[in-house]
Each structure stands twice: as C-alpha cells, then as structure tokens.
C-alpha cells in the first residue's frame, strides 16, 4: 500500500506531465517501478486520479473548434443546492468543465463547439432553458496564453555559461 507521501509525489509529477513513464517516476522518487504502477492503479480505482488529458495549441486541431466561458446564475435548490443542475450540465459532451464559484455568478462552464452558432445554439436550447438557470453570460475565447500551468508563448531563452565552478 503506497504511503500518502508517495501518492502525492506521483500526483505532482503527473499533473505536470501525464505521460511520464512509470519507470521514470520510479527513478525520480527512488522507488521500485512495481510500487509506482500499483500506486497509480490504486489511485485510479479510488478515483483520486480521474484521467489524463493533453494541452493542445490553438488551431492544432483541424475542426475549427470554438470555445467559450459561460457564467451561469442558478437558483439553488432546497435539497442539494447547486449539485443537481451542475451535474446535469456536466453530462453534455460539449461542456468541458464545470466549476461552482464564489462571486456574482454561480457556475463557470467551459464549452466547446464547431462554430459560434453551435455554441450559441447550446446556450439557447440546452443551457438557458434548464429549470433553475436564471441568467447566462457567454464569453467566446479568442486566444490562449496559459492552460493547465503551461504557457502558450515561447519562454525567454537566456543561454547560461557552459561551465561555472
């Protein structure tokens, strides 16, 4: 059984690079590779590790995807508050993320579609018409600068001296 410390060390590494091979994680943490594989399997089974996704540059996929951040004001329910509607919205495949947030609106959605009309159609027909949704504000995304901790522009590259005692 992996220790809490080992699990956290693995999660930190995978959050930065989900493709890191188990063998490299093992070498970095000076732990046997079988222990790493078992710990990852355990965390997947326990739903501590829910999935792995790639960070993709704007335009790298050919299907002209349009994405939007949508702020949603919701009337919370007496039983369950925001959960039922948030979980309902999470079921739509065009919804990439759903967060409950503090502030002047309640749910923050990231939505993806093939075109502006596509997203607009989703908002009008699926989202705004949900019982409990009081208002929405849609912000189409124009350019990504940073996502999942990764900068989209080239970093500064200063060449260090090659030997320093």
């Amino acid at each position: 059984m992996a220790t809490q410390q080992l699990k956290q060390d693995i999660l930190r590494l995978l959050r930065r690079n989900a493709r890191l091979p188990d063998a490299e994680i093992a070498d970095r943490l000076a732990v046997d590779v079988a222990e790493i594989t078992a710990a990852i399997a355990q965390m997947e089974a326990d739903r501590e590790l829910l999935g792995y996704s790639a960070v993709i540059a704007d335009g790298a996929l050919p299907d002209g995807e349009v994405s939007a951040i949508i702020e949603v004001e919701v009337q919370p329910e007496r039983d369950g508050g925001f959960d039922r509607i948030a979980e309902n919205l999470s079921r739509f495949p065009e919804v990439l993320s759903v967060y409950l947030v503090s502030g002047r609106y309640d749910l923050r959605l990231a939505v993806v579609g093939h075109s502006l009309q596509d997203v607009a159609h989703f908002v009008a027909s699926k989202l705004a018409s949900q019982p409990g949704v009081r208002a929405t504000a849609t912000h189409f995304m124009l350019k990504t600068y940073k996502e999942a901790g990764i900068q989209f522009h080239e970093g500064e590259d200063y060449e260090r001296l090659k030997v320093v005692p």
């Binding site: 260090r160 001296l161 090659k162 320093v164």
Partner: protein, 392 residues
C-alpha cells in the same frame, strides 16, 4: 592575446603566487563548442521565480535605485534575520549583526580580510569550492586543507581538523552541504566541530549557501550551538536555493564587532550591494518558500536519477546530502580527471568539471551538476555510457 612587455613586473607578489586555475583552458574550450550537454554548471537552470523578477521591475519603477546603507537596506536585513532564525536556528539583530554583500563570495572575502593577520592559518577542507584557498591567500594568510574522503562519505572528520590546528590557526572555514561532493554535516559533526573551535579559541566561518538545499534531515547551524554565536560568522545568500545567481546578493551574520569590521572593508571597496537586487531578495525571502521548495523537489528527483545512472554505468557515486552536485569516481577508467573530462568533452560533447579543480585530492573524480533538466541528464548519461564503452 597581445604580449606587450611590461616595463617592470607590476603584479603583486601574493597575486602572482596564486595558482592559475588549471581548468581555465578547459572552460574556454567548452565555451567554443556546440551541442555540448553541460553538467559543469554550478548554478540553477531555473530562471529566477517570476514573482521575484516582477518585484525587481517594481523596484525600478519606484526608482529604488540609490545607494543603500552600507550594511544593506534595513527591511532586507530584517527579512534575512527572520529567515535565518526560522530556517537555520540562529538569531541575529538586523541593526548590528547582519550585513548584505555582493554574493557569498564577497561575504567570504571581507570576512577573511577583516579577521586575518599575515601568517595566520585557516583550516578548511578539500575538495572545496575553487575560491577558498585563493581568498585566504589574498588575505595574506595560510590555507591549511583537511582532506575529506569518499570512504567516509566526504564527511569532515573532526579529529583530522583538530590535528591540523597549530598555534597560528585562527579560523575554521566550513562549507556544507559541500560543492563539489554534496557531503553534509550531521548534528553530531557540528557539535564536535564546535567543541574543537571553543577549545582552540577559533573563529568559525560557515558558508551555508547550499544548506537550504539539504535533502532529508536538517539540523540547526553550528552558529546556534551553545558558545558558538560569539565565534561564528554565518554566510548565506540568494543565489542557489532561490535561483538568483545574477542578482549577487549574499549576507553575513555574526557578532557585532566582526560585522562592524566587515562593514569597514565593504564600505571602502563595495559601498553597498545593488539596491534593486536587495529589493528582489526581500520578495524572495518573504514570499519565495513555495518556489524554493518546488525547485528543491525537482533537484532531489534529478539527484536520485543521476546517482542511479552513474552507478549503473560503473562510476561509483555517493548519494549527496545536499547541493546539486555529484562527485563520481572515475579512476577505474585509468584516466586522470583532466583526461577524462577533456576526452568526454571532445568525443561525446558532455562537459563535467575535473575533480582537481576543487583541490589536488579531487584527482580520480569529476563533478557533475544536476542543475540541468532531466532530459539532458539522461542524454548525458547515454553519452557517458558510449564514452566508457570506447575505453573498453
């Protein structure tokens, strides 16, 4: 280089006597080559954390560009003393017991110049950072090296230190975690060295620039042990753990009379450290723990990888207790440190530093820094493997 004839030999005798660094040519060779993977760099590969750089820009915008107090900007001295108390366990008064310097190099230089008379002896240990013996010699004193050995994990043997002490010995100079060996001092080592310093009435100068980069168990600085504060100069700086080498901010903490003496030398030679760099150092000390710890985790993981690989390649290598260097033994190849480093560079384009750069006792070893990304470390290890294969 032009070789114009001097009308007389202008160079001071004690400077002329300083040995020319034997690896200067090697450095120059490396810098002319392309596609070199360098494990020869004794500085972090991380850029200074952005919040620190941003604070530097803000200091410029505010016009914080004047001289500061000779001792250093008071808010920075307060930050330093708080940090030293919390991280290293020694308490100092920022008003009188702390001076901000241009890197630890200046702190060491002015410390030595402030306390040494001609003919005094300084006991230190080798292998060690390249500047120690020359700095002692430039202060007109005599460097006396105690050798640390691989068989004892390059730990400093207190008995060997004591054996090197003579009536002329005035200073015990320590640098742990160590560049280039990665060795550290245990709490027990510190207690025994402190006892020796007190018994022989020595001043301890402890350069703890890598102490923030200790892996595993840490213990309070020797300066915090009973009877030691009044005979210890504690040196540290921002370069390594906070990835701020180019800012050149170091500091010394110690008894008021010694800080006062160092302040005189500093005042007449340096005046003060860069104001904007001092402002940046405050930001790093006050808000930089998280970035420091993230870099530290990365170094620790690289250490695990490089130690495993070198041992797999048949170059025996200890697990460092701190800093970002490993010091593998290469004598089994039959090559000298210098030949190993030169041939590895020419044949496989990997730069390592010959162990002899850090003292004659470094013969048979090379220093590899893991302040380089893991992809480069892995590629360097593959190239070293190919190099070793050609040696048969």
């Amino acid at each position: 280089m032009s070789d114009s004839k001097l009308s007389r030999n202008w160079v001071a005798d004690h400077i002329a006597r300083l040995p020319r660094s034997g690896i200067r040519d090697f450095f120059e060779l490396v810098n002319t080559m392309d596609d070199v993977i360098s494990l020869g760099i004794g500085e972090p590969d991380f850029a200074t954390p952005w919040h620190v750089r941003e604070a530097t820009i803000y200091a410029l915008q505010k016009g914080f560009t004047s001289y500061t107090s000779n001792l250093g900007y008071m808010p920075l001295r307060r930050s330093v003393c708080r940090y030293v108390a919390e991280r290293f366990g020694a308490t100092y008064d920022p008003a009188t017991e702390c001076i901000i310097t241009v890197g630890v190099s200046e702190a060491l230089d002015i410390a030595l110049r402030s306390v040494l008379n001609p003919g005094d002896e300084v006991v230190y240990h080798e292998p060690c950072y390249v500047s120690y013996a020359p700095s002692i010699a430039m202060a007109h004193a005599k460097p006396v090296a105690v050798v640390t050995k691989e068989e004892t994990q390059f730990a400093l043997d207190p008995a060997a230190v004591e054996a090197a002490i003579t009536p002329k010995t005035k200073v015990m100079l320590l640098n742990f975690p160590n560049n280039p060996t990665g060795a550290g001092l245990t709490a027990d080592d510190k207690a025994r060295l402190a006892e020796i310093a007190i018994r022989h009435d020595l001043l301890v100068i402890t350069d703890e620039i890598y102490e923030d980069m200790t892996y595993g168990e840490r213990s309070p600085t020797i300066a915090s042990l009973p009877g030691m504060k009044e005979r210890t100069l504690f040196l540290n700086g921002m370069s390594k753990a906070h990835a701020m080498t180019g800012y050149r901010i170091g500091y010394a903490c110690g008894p008021q009379a010694l800080i006062e003496a160092m302040m005189k030398v500093h005042q007449y030679s340096m005046l003060c450290a860069s104001s904007i760099a001092q402002a940046a150092a405050i930001e790093a000390l006050e808000n930089g723990d998280r970035a420091r710890d993230e870099m530290h985790r990365e170094y620790e993981q690289r250490r695990n990888v490089i130690v495993k690989r070198l041992n797999e390649l048949g170059l025996p290598c200890l697990l460092p207790r701190g800093a970002f260097y490993v010091f593998p033994r290469i004598s089994g190849t039959g090559l000298t440190s210098d030949a190993f480093a030169r041939r590895l560079l020419k044949e496989q384009r990997v730069a390592v530093v010959p162990g002899t750069a850090f003292g004659a006792c470094g013969e048979g070893y090379v220093r590899c820094a893991y302040a380089t990304g893991l992809d480069d470390i892995e590629e360097a290890m593959r190239r070293i493997g190919r190099f070793l294969a050609t040696l048969g």
